[in-house]
């Protein structure tokens, strides 16, 4: 029997809210299957299985907020006897900072979505005060279904409170955390309140997660910074020519050439493709590039494009488009968040010349790109206009030295001179 636990998605994740199960008991589980959806600082993430077997028993029900490492379900090997028929399996719940969670029998209707998600637009339209918003989150009330009785139809705390009593009777005990006393009166049915996630709350939590990770990075990692300016005229000419021949849907972005070049350069400097763990650099076999994607509401996520060095430009383009879409609209997978080996950040779109990155631990390097700009460039004694880009490396001095970092950037520049080989 194997435990399926709440995974740690990123170095500073401590807990997550189970949103829904995507597998039923006695259903076959294969490595990479989506088991469940979990709400985290980075949005709702699809959690993959990393073992084979049969889903034996679900221990944690949707709506529960549990710490990393909590057993969510048991997976039995093929041929193993179900725990239901023999000795009982006990959920291993770690000491928690949040509310205690008990497995609950759930008969809640499958037709209503388990997660209430409110966009910035919803919040703007609804005229809801911050305290009413917070109460809605605590009670699992969807404010879109509530008629406001306040000024200009604004939704008040009272409105939310009433709606909360009407729709779902309060949980039998301990109710939602920090809920006002008025609603924790004993009620008939036990039901976990539906998780409510609103865009402002999500943005605030993401900010906190970024703050924790970056503060740790700056505190613990002795960064060194290197940069070089790379002539991109061959790469850009090649790309223009390629895109002339390609239909709208098959076109490439220059950012994809940069990603592939970084991945190939990392092959030659494997020391940068590592995690700093247990006071040493542990080299990673595979090159999974974390691609920093900013969110319009603020914040960013840097999920992985796996095996970037082994993929063609077309595959990378497809993966990148898919990834950006999922960062913005949901559906990121747990493996994409937990295992990028080096992060690439391209801030050229904002018009800046260069980037001085902050490493995302436990990684030991981050590669930054500025904008592609036309500059006077000396070629064979002649001044020519050339598109150039500033590539930078911020690396962990515990793991590598500037000499090695310099070689990496030089190789990156060399690789970008031969776009047809990417």
């Amino acid at each position: 029997m194997n435990e399926f636990v709440m995974p740690k998605l990123g170095s500073d994740m401590t807990a997550g809210t189970l949103v829904s199960w995507r597998k039923k008991p006695n259903e076959a589980v294969h490595r990479g299957d989506i088991m469940a959806e979990v709400d985290t600082d980075k949005g709702v993430i699809d959690i993959e299985a990393f073992q084979e077997g049969i889903l034996d028993k679900i221990l944690i029900e949707p709506g529960a907020h549990v710490p990393v490492g909590t057993t969510l379900a048991m997976i039995r090997a093929d041929g193993e006897v179900s725990a239901e028929s023999g000795s009982s399996v006990k959920a291993k719940t770690l000491p928690v900072a949040s509310q205690p969670v008990e497995p609950q029998t759930q008969e809640s209707d499958a037709n209503k979505p388990p997660l209430i998600e409110l966009s910035l637009q919803d919040l703007r339209r609804l005229k809801i005060s911050p305290s009413a918003r917070m109460l809605a989150r605590q009670l699992g009330v969807d404010p879109r279904q509530v008629k406001g009785t306040g000024r200009d139809g604004a939704i008040t705390r009272d409105d939310i409170d009433k709606a909360g009593r009407a729709t779902s009777p309060p949980a039998k005990k301990s109710a939602p955390p920090k809920a006002p006393a008025s609603i924790s009166t004993p009620g008939p049915a036990a039901e976990t309140p539906r998780p409510v996630v609103d865009a402002l709350d999500r943005a605030a939590r993401m900010r906190q997660a970024i703050a924790a990770a970056m503060a740790r990075s700056n505190r613990e990692i002795p960064h060194y910074y290197l940069s070089t300016t790379i002539d991109l005229h061959r790469a850009m000419d090649w790309l223009t020519e390629q895109n002339e021949q390609r239909g709208v849907t098959d076109r490439l972005l220059y950012g994809v050439l940069l990603l592939k070049a970084v991945a190939l350069a990392l092959r030659e400097s494997p020391e940068l493709n590592a995690f700093w763990q247990n006071d040493q650099a542990e080299l990673q076999d595979d090159i999974h590039l974390g691609v920093a994607v900013s969110l319009r509401g603020g914040g960013l996520i840097a999920p992985a494009i796996h095996h970037a060095d082994l993929k063609s430009l077309d595959e990378l383009m497809r993966d990148l488009r898919d990834l950006v879409k999922r960062v913005r609209s949901g559906g990121l997978k747990s493996s994409e968040l937990s295992d990028p080996t080096v992060t690439v950040t391209n801030l050229g779109e904002q018009g800046v010349e260069g980037v001085f990155g902050v490493i995302n631990p436990p990684q030991v390097a981050i590669v930054g790109f500025g904008k592609v700009g036309e500059r006077p460039w000396v070629v064979d004694g002649q001044v020519m206009p050339r598109p150039v880009i500033c590539a930078s490396l911020a690396a962990d001095h515990r793991a590598t030295d500037g000499h090695l970092g310099g070689i990496f950037l030089t190789n990156l520049g060399r690789i970008l001179q031969e776009p047809e080989l990417l």
Binding site: A199, N243, E244, V248, R251, R321, S329, E349
Partner: protein, 83 residues
């Protein structure tokens, strides 16, 4: 297709790319990129969206002719007429 229909189609594609944006407040004569904070991936998806909804194939060299909503409408009107 009338100008109005083309404009509506353009706005629809933009809304898909920037679902959180309030397009009623979009200034039709100012750069879309700046107003909606869209990057080159979003822009490519915009071009692909226009291709899907209007059937126009926009070459990369014409991207600079599509920076504002007014320009988009003008450009697409022309290319639909010449089709």
């Amino acid at each position: 297709m009338t100008d109005m229909e083309i404009r509506t189609a353009v706005l629809q594609v933009l809304q898909e790319i920037a679902p959180e944006a309030d397009l009623a407040e979009l200034d039709a004569s100012a750069r879309i990129r700046d107003q909606l904070d869209i990057d080159s991936m979003d822009f490519l998806n915009f071009i692909i969206g226009l291709h899907k909804s209007l059937g126009v194939e926009i070459p990369e060299r014409d991207y600079p002719k599509l920076t504002t909503l007014n320009e988009c409408t003008r450009y697409l009107t022309n290319s639909l007429q010449n089709k």
